[in-house]
């Protein structure tokens, strides 16, 4: 069923009784051309682009729980392409361009809103670092504007400009950045992939791999054995666990990241703002809730919930940046498990096992990459060669000393 203003009007008149399920909740078949493990944003997007761009539609997406139950439904919905390193920039910009055309492409309202992402700076050193980042972006044809204090004040007059310790000096603005409704991304890709013949299989956990020599030829699951010459992993925070079933160790640690939402308020924050002196960022959802977050908790975790010190730290950051926030009540908070890589950048590559492909290490920033990640991963799976936008993001880069370390923190995942 194609969605349009006419289908909407027709259904409104018919009392909304004629809507069909958006995708088929498929039962697993014994054999596919490609198995994608993980029904998060990246897995669903990968399946969609396999079908759409490469004509490979005999594909299953195997999801342990329900689609949208992982990080794709837990993130704070921010999208941007304001990266510094040439190994990262092309991928995130490809992703941004795909966001810009996504809703027409998949015929689904994902509420893509290019409301602007502003990163504040509070010192001369930070300003210089942002000037450098903005220049790197512009050299790649990406929009970036360095604002001074008055430029920021015109956008957000209510910020705490004269905070005693961290006065706001200015900010780096990417106007094309913004927010996207995260659940709709999962549902929209699921529907578009399903329409092209992809089987979306829920409640189907992968528990092992079928091997013939050095080749992976399928998976064992809680719903039986499923064979395919190509198996692609996109399981985010569970990457180490699933890779271990194939005997692989990864340069990844799993960490918990929390997010918070306030009660619904009238529109106050038009865009996305990040505080540069602590880790705090905030935007307002279209329902009115303030959506905000900060650092990962900082220790290995599979708990999907964090602890109070980070809650306190995030709220202190919010109060320092925007004291008015103190009047809003917090409605809920939650956590998700991040696949933190050793250099803070993702891995999109083949593995030492033929037929096994890996998409992992997205840290706390993989939502913005969802369309690009799906597109380049599908390319890799279909053609067995990396997409031009993701040639640096190999598994072998660590041992080879070619890490893509945006922050320059070294092999310490909790600092990225």
């Amino acid at each position: 069923m194609r969605y349009s203003v006419f289908s909407l009007l027709g259904q409104a008149l018919a009392g909304n009784t004629g809507w069909k399920p958006a995708w088929r909740d498929a039962a697993p078949q014994p054999r596919y051309d490609v198995i994608v493990v993980g029904g998060g944003g990246h897995g669903l997007a990968t399946a969609y682009y396999l079908a759409r761009t490469h004509g490979i539609a005999n594909v299953a997406v195997l999801e342990r729980g329900w689609i949208g139950g992982g990080n794709v439904g837990r993130n704070t919905t921010i999208v941007r392409s304001n990266y510094l390193l040439p190994g990262n920039i092309p991928l995130y910009e490809l992703s941004m361009q795909l966001w810009e055309g996504l809703e027409q492409d998949i015929n689904y309202n994902a509420m893509v809103s290019q409301r602007g992402v502003l990163n504040l700076y509070h010192s001369d050193g930070q300003r210089d670092a942002y000037a450098r980042r903005g220049n790197a972006m512009r050299l790649h044809g990406i929009d970036a504007e360095l604002l001074d204090r008055e430029g920021v004040r015109r956008l957000y007059p209510f910020l705490n400009f004269d905070q005693a310790r961290f006065p706001i000096q200015g900010g780096l603005l990417q106007r094309r950045g913004g927010t996207v409704r995260h659940d709709a991304v999962a549902w929209g890709y699921a529907r578009a992939a399903s329409d092209r013949g992809v089987d979306i299989v829920q409640n189907c956990a992968v528990t092992g791999f079928l091997r013939e020599g050095g080749r992976i030829t399928g998976v064992e699951t809680t719903r039986g054995t499923i064979r395919a010459p190509k198996v692609a992993l996109a399981v985010a925070g569970s990457s180490s666990q699933v890779a271990a079933m194939a005997g692989l160790r990864l340069p990844i640690e799993s960490h918990v990241l929390q997010a918070f939402v306030s009660e619904g308020l009238k529109p106050i924050i038009p865009g996305v703002i990040t505080f540069g002196a602590g880790h705090f960022y905030i935007s307002q959802s279209d329902k009115g809730g303030l959506v905000f977050g900060g650092d990962i908790d900082g220790y290995n975790s599979y708990a999907q919930r964090g602890n109070l010190p980070v809650v306190e730290d995030v709220c202190e950051g919010g109060m320092a940046l925007m004291p008015a926030i103190g009047r809003a009540r917090m409605l809920r908070s939650w956590g998700g498990i991040m696949d933190m890589s050793m250099d803070g950048s993702p891995i999109i590559d083949r593995t030492p096992l033929d037929g096994l492909y890996l998409n992992a290490g997205w840290c706390y920033g993989g939502f913005k990459a969802t369309p690009g990640s799906g597109a380049v991963f599908a390319h890799l799976i279909a053609r067995d060669e990396p997409h031009p936008a993701a040639t640096a993001l190999t598994l072998g880069r660590f041992a080879a000393g070619r890490v893509v370390d945006e922050k320059g923190q070294g092999a310490q995942p909790n600092l990225h």
Binding site: A244, R249, P251, S254, Y299, S301
Partner: protein, 85 residues
Amino acid sequence: MRIPCPYCGPRDSSEFAYLGDAAPRRPADGDAEAMATYVYLRDNPAGPMDELWYHAQGCRSWLVVSRDTRDHAVSGARLAAGASA
């Protein structure tokens, strides 16, 4: 989350800095492949794990803390100095 420091007693985890898995051992002979494995590859277990924490705002000792990564339950802590090398 509280960490039972052998010197200071049970203290809030925010007094500590986290390094990570205590299992990897620096290879003695400087072999490049063994070194890359030591620096970059981790078991990243979902379950009990021994890990290195530094009591930065306390006695400044490095500790080996036993903790379950599924529920954050801490089952013990000992001094890292003199721990099996």
